[in-house]
Amino acid sequence: MNDLREDEKTISRRKFLIRMMKAGASITAAGALAAFLHDKKAPSGYAGGEVVQIPDFSLEKDARSLAIVSGENRKLTLEKAIDALGGIGRFIKKGDRVLIKVNAAFATPPVLCATTHPDLVREMIALCLKAGASEARVTDNPINDPASCFLLTGIREATESSGGKLILPKSEYFKHTTLINGNLIRDWPVLYAPFDGVTKLIGMAPLKDHHRSGASMTMKNWYGLLGGRRNIFHQDIHNIIKELAMMVKPTLAILDGTNAMMTNGPTGGSLSDLKATNMLIAGTDSVAIDAFGSALLERRLSDLPFIQKAADMGVGTADYESLKPVRITIN
């Protein structure tokens, strides 16, 4: 052994070169393997920056309330629902700056009900301005060409013709947020600039089937605030909806079940995907609203785990009857 060690100490030039070549080949092979495995399209590390929190816009001191209005005319059902909840004055005060988060996810016509109906947007803006709001903004972050989405859904026209202000997403409008106690929403970009100076938040969502989550309603509507590579959340859809419901606390939420998309959601595409369920649900408890919506969609609560998950986190109650909802029928 001593001889061997002595030999290694006095290594020959030839052995040294052979060892160097072997080491070089190993390094080259490792590098080549790394280059082969490297995903150039993979996410890169977030360099940091300002982290924001979406404010709480809920009416904390008010009891949770719910209104269910039957009728086919969206303008009338919305008016009646707001009245039933105590009138627009309960939610909007003079000088309020209101943000209305619509669903404008697709560049599809209003008749397909894949997006928030423009009649509702128009009426909601009118109600807010009538109540003294200084501004009513409308926004969403549709991935597919926002300008086309807002144009073809009719939301742009409805917003502009009723005195509202449409905010299309731009890259500089996004800031990172982290949900306290959240597992998914951590340092994640959200559409934040439209919240600047806002004092009230209203969510307006269509009632739809959803291939991944089972249903798209008021809590899923907040998904549209997310930026980044948000489709990765589809792998954990129920928990991301739960976390969105924990993160965004609106003043008022509206679920449009006038024509529910029963199948082939969230895009639909055919009028035959729709069913005239003729209901509009409004309230301050998104969990209760979605729980009622699930019944309209003919889903069981067990089919939509995000509802119970949100309820378990204290966002609201899945037992919507416990809120003693006001029921109105418009003939």
Binding site: P43, Y173, D187, H210, G228, H234, G269, L271
Partner: protein, 334 residues
């Protein structure tokens, strides 16, 4: 050094260090924090992540507009990485069926801008993949269309498969003008893009009486929760005012069909199914398994496995499986 050379010691330390680094990387990867990363494409997805829009639209959507209509937008191309940017949560349905590419484009009536439609052409790689996504979205109570086999129309849209393509042409409203335009457009697409037709050989082995064609579905994999049940065609039958789901699959050969039949039996019994005796054993190889109040009938016949899935009652199920077997038997003699 007690017999250990400096080089050996150094080498051992380096190997240990590499091991620790490797283990650390492994652990960090296992706790991947989605929120800490941004897309290489875009952080906010509002601009840079917009779908690829080609300067020159692909041939398939060039000149597709019917008379009186003009292109309303450029053609958009979406690959599997960005499909969700167009159809959001429905992207998984396609991607799970080997989706390759979506081409979409809108057209508008030259006289009435409210009359517009959008073409969606999904390249699904194989005709059966295209048929699978078609079947999973098939609307009931629609009109058959003559533009292609299995084509159907609704008040505002036309849906069909054409070889490897699943095609949707969606109108902005119900309109006779749009109806005609959708059909013309479909004919142009079919003519402009020849593709191998779908051959559903197994369909000819199913009895046509009482068949509810609109319920036809094609499962590429994992039918009935069993991973080995791939390439399964199902179709409902109206039996005594109840719907019975018949299934059939053509395998590579007799032995594969038999093996799948046996594996399915093992699977069902392993999850609590109870084999029940065939009181009228007219069908060789028939398995009857009761599971959670429903009955599963299945057998292998030649290179086919077929049966009834989740029959609501034995009385009608026994009769239906006999009809199925007899029809298949006759067809196989031809």
């Amino acid at each position: 050094m007690g017999g250990i050379s400096v080089e050996t010691l150094a080498g051992t330390i380096i190997l240990i260090a590499l091991g620790v680094i490797g283990a650390t990387v492994w652990m960090v990867q296992g706790r991947y924090d989605k929120g800490f990363f941004k897309s290489a494409v875009s952080q906010n997805n509002s601009e840079a992540a917009a779908p690829v829009i080609e300067d020159s639209p692909p041939k398939i959507l060039s000149g597709m507009e019917p008379e009186g209509f003009s292109p309303m937008s450029d053609a958009e191309i979406f690959n599997p990485d960005i499909l969700s940017e167009k159809i959001n949560g429905k992207a998984d349905l396609y991607i799970e069926c080997d989706f390759r590419e979506l081409t979409a484009r809108r057209y508008v009536n030259q006289k009435d801008p409210a009359l517009w439609f959008e073409i969606y052409i999904y390249d699904m790689k194989e005709p059966r993949n295209a048929f699978s996504v078609y079947s999973m979205q098939r609307r009931p109570q629609t009109k058959d269309s003559a533009v292609a086999p299995f084509a159907y129309s609704t008040e505002n849209a036309l849906f069909f498969t054409h070889g490897v393509y699943y095609v949707e042409i969606v109108g902005a409203q119900a309109s006779e003008i749009l109806d005609a335009a959708l059909v013309k457009t479909a004919e142009k697409i079919i003519a402009a893009y020849p593709s191998e037709p779908l051959v559903l050989n197994e369909l000819s082995f199913l009895p046509p009486e009482n068949m509810l064609k609109h319920t036809m579905k094609y499962f590429l994999k994992n039918a009935f929760g069993f991973e080995k049940m791939d390439n399964i065609l199902t179709i409902n039958y109206d039996v005594s005012e109840k719907e019975f789901m018949v299934f059939i699959s053509e395998r590579q050969g007799v032995s594969e069909a038999k093996a799948l039949r046996d594996d399915y039996e093992k699977f069902l019994t392993a999850i609590g199914g109870k084999m029940t005796p065939d009181e009228n054993p007219a069908i060789p190889d028939l398995a009857i398994i009761d599971l959670m109040g429903e009955t599963e009938y299945f057998f292998s016949l030649g290179r086919f496995i077929a049966g009834i899935h989740a029959a609501p009652n034995r009385e009608d199920g026994d009769g239906m499986v006999r009809i199925l077997y007899d029809f298949m038997n006759v067809e196989m003699q031809k």
